[in-house]
Structure formats: structure tokens, C-alpha cells
């Protein structure tokens, strides 16, 4: 037995039937970074091939959504676009746009990664690579689209500042912008891979994702301000980890809004927990997924 062990250590890779629970395989995924970059490129390029407007589509969609929100929720329904009182001076158009681009990043990553196993079964059933590379690539390639949208947001912001209808104060709050983007990235990938791991067995979940995300958006301050939520429910409302991410993003860019450190940290804790659970579940499923998919 000991002799067996000794000879095993000489091999670079050993595949056996027993499962190691805490083997996250992130190191291995890093070795395949060239492949991840190519996947990112492939996903991004193939999305806009043979379209006339190309990556402009990344702008058109949130732009029109923002216009519709401004007209319907802002003008017609007259919903409050303030996260905290007294109402800060944030133009409702910018307010809706910030929520829309963050939410569209979150929802597109969740829905894309939730199909990881099903959509790539043809590749994964034929060749081995760290499966986690796929959702990572999806999260990154959507980040490019998000970057374009963020540029659009910044341009709009500058135009409105020049116009005199918005103001910008440079402060340390800006740190929340990259932090909340990172949080959304981890959270959406985590949720996506949990769903993708479960959909290999239960296809029902893939049906749920589309309309589940639609409902989820209403539980998130995307099209309305936090002020609309009654004080008693603020704690419950913050259990939705997307909420503190979006609130802190707006707090960061506008310099005013709602920020509660306790809720913010709880949001991060939930995010990290989901991402970790997602990785565990994903690695557990990936080994034998070819047999069940």
C-alpha cells in the first residue's frame, strides 16, 4: 500500500473515484488563462458578427430601457428616485441608467452562466479543461459590454453636468464603484453556476431563470429609489445582495444616497457565501456531468 502511494506521487495527474470536497481547482483554471481570454473574445466577437451596428447594440438596449423607465416610472407613475432623504439632486434619467446597466450586467451573467453545462455540452463531452473557465469567461465578456455601457453612462453624466442639471463631487466614495462591480460579478457568477450545476439534472430551473430574474428586478432598487421602501422592511429588503451593490454604486458616483455599513457587509458576506457554495457545487457536478446531462 505504501509502495503504491509512493509511485502515485510521481504522476502529475491522478484521477480517482473518491471526491475531494474542498478542491476548488482555481489554480488549474489560472493555467488555462489563454483559453479563458479566447473564450471571452469568441463570445464577444461572435455576438456581434454580421450585425450592422456591432457593439453599439450594447448601448442601444440600456439606453432605450432607461428612456422607457424615465417616461413610465418617472413621469407617468411619478415614483420617487431618491435613496435617502433629503432628496439629493440626481437627475432621474441618470438614476435609472445607473440601475439599468448594473442590473443588465447582473441578469445577463446569471442567465448566460446558468446555461454553461447545457450550452457547452458538445465541447465538454469531448475534451477536458477546467469547466469553471466557461462561467469565468462569460462573466468577463459581459464585463466588456458593461464597460461600454459604463462609458455611455459617464458621457451622459458629463453632458448633464455641462448642462447644469447634475453635479459631481470627487470623494473617496468613488471606491464603491469598482467594489460594487466586483460584488455583482461574483454574485452573478455564483448564482449562475449554482443554477447551471442543478440544471444538469433538473431542467425545470432553466425555465425559472428567465422570469425569476424579471421578478427579482422588482425586489431591487433599479426602477425606483430606496425611499419607497417602508422603514420596517429595510432590513429584509437588504437581504437581497444586489440591493447594497446597486445602492453603494449610486452612492459612489453621485456622492449622495443611502449607505449603511452593516447592511453593506452583510451583502458582501452573502455574496462570498454564494460564490463559494457555487464553486463547491460546480466542481462536484463537473466531474460526472457528461453522464447526466
Amino acid at each position: 500500500m505504501t509502495e503504491n502511494k509512493k509511485s502515485d506521487t510521481a504522476f502529475k495527474t491522478v484521477v480517482s473515484a473518491d471526491k475531494k470536497i474542498f478542491d476548488l481547482k482555481l489554480k488549474e483554471a489560472f493555467k488555462y488563462k489563454d483559453m479563458i481570454l479566447l473564450f471571452v473574445k469568441r463570445e464577444f466577437v461572435s455576438k456581434y458578427k454580421q450585425t450592422v451596428l456591432g457593439p453599439l447594440w450594447a448601448i442601444i438596449q440600456p439606453l432605450f430601457t432607461t428612456v422607457v423607465y424615465t417616461v413610465i416610472f418617472g413621469t407617468l407613475a411619478g415614483l420617487d428616485t431618491a435613496d435617502a432623504s433629503p432628496a439629493p439632486m440626481v437627475p432621474s434619467f441618470l438614476f435609472y441608467m445607473s440601475g439599468t446597466i448594473l442590473w443588465s450586467y447582473f441578469s445577463s451573467v446569471v442567465s448566460a452562466t446558468s446555461h454553461t453545462f447545457l450550452a457547452n455540452a458538445h465541447i465538454m463531452g469531448k475534451v477536458y479543461f477546467p469547466r469553471i473557465a466557461m462561467p469565468i469567461a462569460t462573466a468577463i465578456s459581459n464585463l466588456i459590454s458593461f464597460g461600454i455601457q459604463l462609458a455611455m453612462f459617464i458621457v451622459t453624466y458629463i453632458v448633464l453636468i455641462i448642462n447644469g442639471s447634475a453635479e459631481f463631487v470627487l470623494s473617496w466614495h468613488l471606491i464603491f464603484v469598482p467594489l460594487s462591480i466586483l460584488q455583482l460579478m461574483l454574485l452573478s457568477t455564483g448564482i449562475g453556476i449554482i443554477i447551471s450545476a442543478l440544471t444538469t439534472k433538473y431542467r425545470d430551473l432553466s425555465m425559472l431563470v428567465g422570469f425569476g430574474l424579471n421578478l427579482w428586478q422588482y425586489a431591487t432598487p433599479v426602477a425606483y429609489g430606496l425611499m419607497l421602501i417602508p422603514q420596517n422592511y429595510i432590513g429584509l429588503y437588504h437581504l437581497n445582495p444586489v440591493t447594497p451593490a446597486i445602492l453603494s454604486f449610486r452612492y459612489g458616483v453621485f456622492g449622495v444616497g443611502y449607505f449603511d455599513l452593516a447592511y453593506y457587509l452583510i451583502g458582501w458576506a452573502i455574496t462570498l457565501l454564494i460564490a463559494f457554495l457555487g464553486l463547491l457545487l460546480f466542481n462536484r457536478i463537473e466531474k460526472n456531468f457528461a453522464d447526466t446531462v
Binding site: 491522478v14 483559453m35 454580421q50 475534451v127 477536458y128
Partner: protein, 429 residues
Amino acid sequence: MSEIMLRCENVSKQYRLGAIGGTTLKEDLQRLSARLRKKEDPTSKIGQKKRPISNEKFLALDGVSFEVKKGEAVGIIGKNGAGKSTLLKLITRITGPSKGTISLNGRVASMLEVGTGFHPELTGRENIYMNGAILGMSKKEIDAKIEEIIDFSEVRQFIDTPVKRYSSGMYVKLAFSVAAHLDADIMIMDEVLAVGDMAFQNKCLTKMRQSAQEEGKTVLYVSHNMNTIRQLCDRVIVLEKGKLIFDGSVEEGIAIYMNNSDSGSNVVTLHDKTHLGNLIGGAFMESMEFLDCENATVVSGNPLKFKMNFRVDRKLEGVKMRITVKSRDDVPVGISISDEVGSFDAETMASVTLAFDTSLLAQGIYYLNFAVCQYDSNGNPVILDNVARACNFTVINRQDDRSVWSQMWWGSIKFPPMKVCEAEAKNIN
């Protein structure tokens, strides 16, 4: 050079039979709640006692152990369902084993299907990078090899065109070129060569052969084409029903794979074999027996005598027997038609003894197709009954003949010696 690159220890892979993964969340929850309440499973079929899925297991691989050394080219052969592809899937880590351990030393490149990960919208060049990366190469390595890959693929002219415009042949050539140029230590191929034209197939086999012999790569190759196995491999593993039944030299392994339906026995029952081309009917071969020999083995030059028993269903006249001699790889060698064996009344059992002249056949194992037929006025056969690959026999050298015959290069027929018509020698100057 004797470093072990791959070791499989007692590897098994179990599959569940039935609708694998075909349950819904609702059914699983119902089953769980029923089990908690100790009630009968609501999703089971009426009368079924246990959970329907878990009781039927199927072992695709059953305790397979072997080792492969550096620089070896190993062929894996076996019938459909013997577990070849499952074994490759385990080695390439596409799915995990149910039991046992697989140890690999070095990078594995798999070609279970060519063009894995090709994206139709990307150009040939972009896809080379894509495919190479999926197979585990870094961008730098591909940069260094891209010219070589494009040359090998023979599609340089179209390399900057999206692959969705490619013909299927071009697609395959490009895909194989990428895979063949991988800097992997262990290369695994599952009949990828079945596509592509003959010239390209040969080019690929030569390339693989070189990789093994000159660059010390280890090759695992699965194929049903015994000729490519002979060309490429220097060792074969034979799988049958998930078990490893042979591990050793190529010719022996192929013989075992080809023979294991029938070992050379003297008495062969035919009524349970598939009777093909039985369109007209009228006769039905029941059994046959080799006479005057042991283990269906005949010394070269001696007649092969056999007795054929067949049922006659209607009145038949001018019946002849025809045999088709085939090589081990199912390549026809030739046919022999008997003289008229006679006329028979309906509902009789006929029994005829025939002798086949084996003097033209080289040493080796041959298979026989039997046909009972009549010949029409143009001399064309009317098949009354036909059994393919009914039995086999072995031709061995006469005792004084110690020559070796290579079927691969020389075929199966030893023609009579050429006659010398004239021979002379002149002074060159």
C-alpha cells in the same frame, strides 16, 4: 524510455440504466417526501416495488488495469459497446471513474472528435488558436506552430475565411492539424481518421507514427479499421464487455478480436446465425462440419473437406454450393462454386460433402460465407440461402516450409510460380 506515462488501476465505470437524469425536481421532491412519510413512491410504476432507477446498473468498464510507457503506440480494439470510448473518456477526464485510479504523467491531448470547439463565425486562423487553447496549448506555443499547422492542413488559401464557409473535408483537415501538432505527452484518438480522404488519412497516420517513434509521444488509438491499427500501433489492448481480455502484440490481439465470435471448431451450427439475402428461399442451412482435420486447420495444399446439412423446403433442381473466402479483416479473397450437388424433393434434409482446394491460399485464418444457390441461364446466381461469416478455418504451412507470410503486404493468395520462358545474359560491354 521506459517511463510509465499512464497507469489504470482496477478502473470501473458504472452507469444507471433507464432514464438517466430524466427526472424532474417535482418527482425527486415527491419521492423524498414519500420516503420521509414511509409511503409508497408516487412516481414508481404500478406494481414496481423499489425506486425505479437505482436497481439496474450497467458496468461499462469492469476492473480494467494496464500501463502504457513513453513512446508506445497502443491500439484499443473491441466490439461496439466493449467500453473503448468510455475508457478514453475516463483517461481524458471528461467523466470520472466509479472505482479505481487513473494516473497520468504529462499533458493529455484528446481527439475524441475533430473540430471540438470550432466556432463557425470565427476564421480558420482564429479557430486554430481557439481549438489549441481548448486542447491545452498556450498562445505562445500556438504562435510558434501556426505556420506548420496551416501547411499541414492544406487549407492555407482559406485560412482567413470563417469556418462556416468550409467544406466538411477542409474542416476536418484543419481540426486534425491542430490536434496533431499539440505538444502533448499523451495523444488520444477515437477514430478521428474515419473522415478525410485516403491521402490525408495516410499523412495523419504517418505523422502520429513519427510522434511516437521520434518525439517519444505516447499514442492511444481506437479504431475498427485493423489496417490503421497495424500501421500505427505496436501493442493492442482488446476489450470485451468492459473487461480487458488481451494486452500484447498487435497481430495476436487482432486475431483474438476477430476470432472471439468463433474459435476454430470443427462442428458449426448455422440455424441460429443470421441468414442474409434469403430472398427467394427454398433452402435453409442447419449445420456444417469440417472433415478429416483438427480444429478446422488444414495444411496448405491439402483439400478442405466439409459436410453441409441443409433443409430443402420446396423441390429444387440444379443446386450448387458457393463459398466466399474472406480474410480476417473481412476482405473478400475469392469465391469457389461447387459442381451441381443434385436435385432435391420438398421437405427433405440434404447433406453434401465438398472439398475445397486450398493450394492457392497463403497461411493464415480465413472466414467463410456459405450460400446455397441455383444458376440461371446467363450464369448468374440465384441465392436460396446465405450465411455470412459462418465459420473460420486456418491454413498452416507444410512441415518443411518455414517461410513467413505477411498478409498486410502480400494479400492472401499465393499464385502458382511464374514460368520462365526465356533467360539469357549478355555482356554489358
